[in-house]
């Protein structure tokens, strides 16, 4: 049988995005102070060459500790985790993260769908998925999975997105709990600890 595993019991906010989403994040992250009861995971489409830069860029914009993601790192509340380029990011039951180099999904690795689906299976109603700007349909299937498992799904208001395609795809194919502009997304995240 499977080894003893404790199902982790804390909240997780997972944010996915593609073109234009970094811009949105840069308006959200600087306003977050310490997060206590939850972890934030960021899955962005990125060029396989800009290795460290995304982590560095994000770390500059937030006072929250950004944990570099390596295979099997402990996954804990209070930190931001960023999916590394060229790997899919997966969640394990024993509160670690694992990586996978399998085929691209929606032309992307990391794929937002892959991480959303994997997180949904484990964090169920403790999970909030947020889908930002982008020009591809990645993320829609993942949001469905989060919803199915009892989680909360939020889509950036396409009117406030640099690239509305990705949020539009989600709105057309899922029933988001909230459609929010950047300011409102920030307020939502701020409210989690309270």
């Amino acid at each position: 049988m499977e080894k003893d595993q404790i199902i982790p019991d804390f909240r997780v906010v997972i944010i996915g995005g593609s073109a234009g989403s970094l811009n949105a994040l840069m308006q959200i992250l600087p306003h977050l102070c310490a997060i206590k009861s939850f972890a934030i995971v960021i899955v962005l489409h990125r060029k396989s060459t800009d290795e460290q830069t995304l982590e560095e860029l994000i770390a500059l914009k937030t006072i929250i500790n950004v944990k570099p993601v390596e295979d099997k790192v402990p996954f804990l509340p209070g930190f931001i985790y960023i999916a590394p380029s060229n790997y899919h990011l997966l969640f394990e039951k024993n509160s670690t993260l694992s990586l996978d180099t399998s085929e691209k999904i929606n032309y992307s690795r990391p794929s937002i769908d892959v991480s959303f689906e994997s997180a949904a299976e484990i964090y169920k109603n403790n999970l909030t998925g947020i889908l930002l700007s982008g020009s591809n349909a990645d993320g829609t299937e993942g949001l469905k999975a989060i919803k199915n498992e009892g989680g909360t799904i939020i889509v950036q208001d396409p009117k406030s997105a640099d690239m509305p395609f990705m949020p539009n795809s989600a709105i057309q194919n899922t029933i988001p709990d909230y459609v929010l502009n950047i300011q409102e997304i920030l307020q939502f995240i701020l409210s989690i600890d309270n």
Binding site: M1, E2, V69, E70, D71, K72, P84, Y87, L90, F91, E92, K93, S98, L99, D100, T101, S102, E103, V114, S118
Partner: protein, 269 residues
Amino acid sequence: MIEDIELETLINEVYEYYGFDFGSYSRASLKRRVNRIYQLDGFAYFYEFLSKIRYDPEYYKHVVDEITVNVTEMFRDPSFYSVVRNQILPLLGTKPFIRLWHAGCSTGEEVYSMAILLKEAGLLHKSLIYATDINAKVLETAKKGIFPLRMMKEYSENYRDSGGKEDFSNYYTANYGIAKFDEELAQKMVFSQHNLVSDNSFNEFDVIFCRNVLIYFDNDLQKRAINLFDESLSVLGFLALGTKETIKYSIAPGKYKQLDREKIWRKIR
């Protein structure tokens, strides 16, 4: 979609019937892979899938081949190859004979990349490169040294970024969508099946590569594999892992020294 409990049943049955133990593979990825085959092969009921695996050894082989993730590239992570070229090969050059092992070599792109580096350093003639995998199908491809021609643009860019100065296209012959690499590169390669879950050390090496294989294993199996590499590595030999992998959780600190920021460790005692 299969359930967690079904996945565990499958793992147990495969072990019982075929002796292969997937029990220490990372569950998140394993589950995705199994679901993928289940769906691709059009099963509607888990017990049908299970009994096909049980009673049809050919189908079982197919399942193992499909569960393993074989995605690979030539000169993947150019900065890694540049460190191998500039810092490791000069140290190996002084040896009369060089033994290398690629564990989990998949279709061989990494092995041919290494042979190119050795050739350019004038070391290929005195090297022997063992390349192993559990997947028999990928080993067949690796032996042939035939890769898709459409990948060559990317590979030659990787090659150049890693410090390669030659014309990359000199290393292969292009033909109907395929690139066949020079036989000369393959002369020093030995391919064979080897399972990191259950097989033992089979030689002593100066360099061991095991890149993007450990990510599919849980911590215990990673430990086993790294100990196997430790046993198979000569003192002052090098162990190279994938860019997001580490020996940190598996081996006593002080025994190995890491090179720069790369995932390369030197055995110092």
